[in-house]
């Protein structure tokens, strides 16, 4: 059996769909963030899979891009979780159902 790039892309699509569902449907704000991290992971997997199946002198571009995605994801996680803690202090909840402060 020959592993081609399609196999990795299919795994990545499955991860993306699960991450999207988790991000849309979880009630806890930390759960929503978990979905976002899953989606970022699936995109990184796509980058690395494509860079593996390009000519070898070109492969480092995908790695560098994945590295930047990891960096931004870490910064985003730190900010989002700090926001979750702050909103818990103010409203005593992190349920995204109950946080409708910005709704008009």
């Amino acid at each position: 059996m020959e592993l081609t790039v399609e196999y990795f892309l299919t795994v990545s699509a499955a991860l993306f769909a699960i991450g999207l569902y988790v991000a849309l449907s979880k009630r806890n704000a930390v759960g929503v963030l978990m979905g976002v991290e899953l989606m970022l992971n699936s995109v990184n997997l796509t980058f690395i899979a494509f860079s593996r199946f390009t000519p070898a002198d070109n492969q480092i571009t995908g790695h560098v891009f994945a590295l930047f995605v990891i960096t931004v994801a870490a910064a985003e996680a730190a900010i989002a979780l700090a926001l979750a803690v702050v909103i818990y202090r103010l409203r005593r909840t992190v349920n995204v159902d109950e946080l409708n402060l910005l709704r008009w």
């Binding site: 699509a13 769909a17 930390v30 978990m34 593996r52 930047f68 994801a73």
Partner: protein
């Protein structure tokens, strides 16, 4: 990539990754969901090793399985009155439909496209030297911007969670 060991490793790792991602959806306790997320991150790191990306695999273990998941556990522990449940909100059914449609579309697009892939036997060379050279040569501006983003995120997170005097 048709070595039997590589094929077995691929199916094991992708089963581990997708299976523990599904566990996040179905588990009742959100702490268990974070633990399943860590397993999923480690599975993705294994897939990176399979794709000859050693540096990214190590960065994945350090940043995701280490730092991000610890941050999530801390955020869960700092919101104690929040019942530890992992329940769904009112978007459960529309979200399920939307994610199934999008996942199916991506899969169909990925499988039906002719990718013109190059599958040379490239072994497992160290990529950290190449990544380091690329970061300070071709991508030096994004590299510096990433440094500033990390600094701003760190200072911002500390400012946000600081108790008021």
């Amino acid at each position: 990539m048709d070595d039997l060991g590589i094929v077995i490793a691929f199916w094991t790792l992708s089963g581990l990754t997708v299976g523990s991602a599904l566990l996040i959806v179905v588990t009742r306790n959100i702490f268990h969901a974070v633990l399943a997320l860590i397993v999923s991150f480690l599975g993705v790191a294994g897939l990176y090793v399979l794709l000859s990306a050693d540096f990214i695999a190590v960065a994945q273990v350090l940043v995701y399985a280490g730092a991000v998941s610890v941050l999530m556990l801390f955020a869960l522990m700092l919101t104690p009155r929040q019942a530890r449940n992992n329940a769904a909100n009112y978007l459960e059914i529309p979200g399920l439909l939307l994610s199934l449609v999008i996942g199916g579309l991506i899969t169909v697009a990925a499988v039906s496209t002719d990718w013109a892939e190059v599958d040379d036997d490239r072994g497992f060379d160290a990529t950290s030297r190449l990544i380091g050279e690329a970061l300070i040569d071709k991508w030096v501006l994004p590299f510096e911007i990433a440094a500033v983003i990390l600094l701003v995120a760190m200072v911002g997170a500390i400012m946000l969670v600081r108790e008021d005097q």
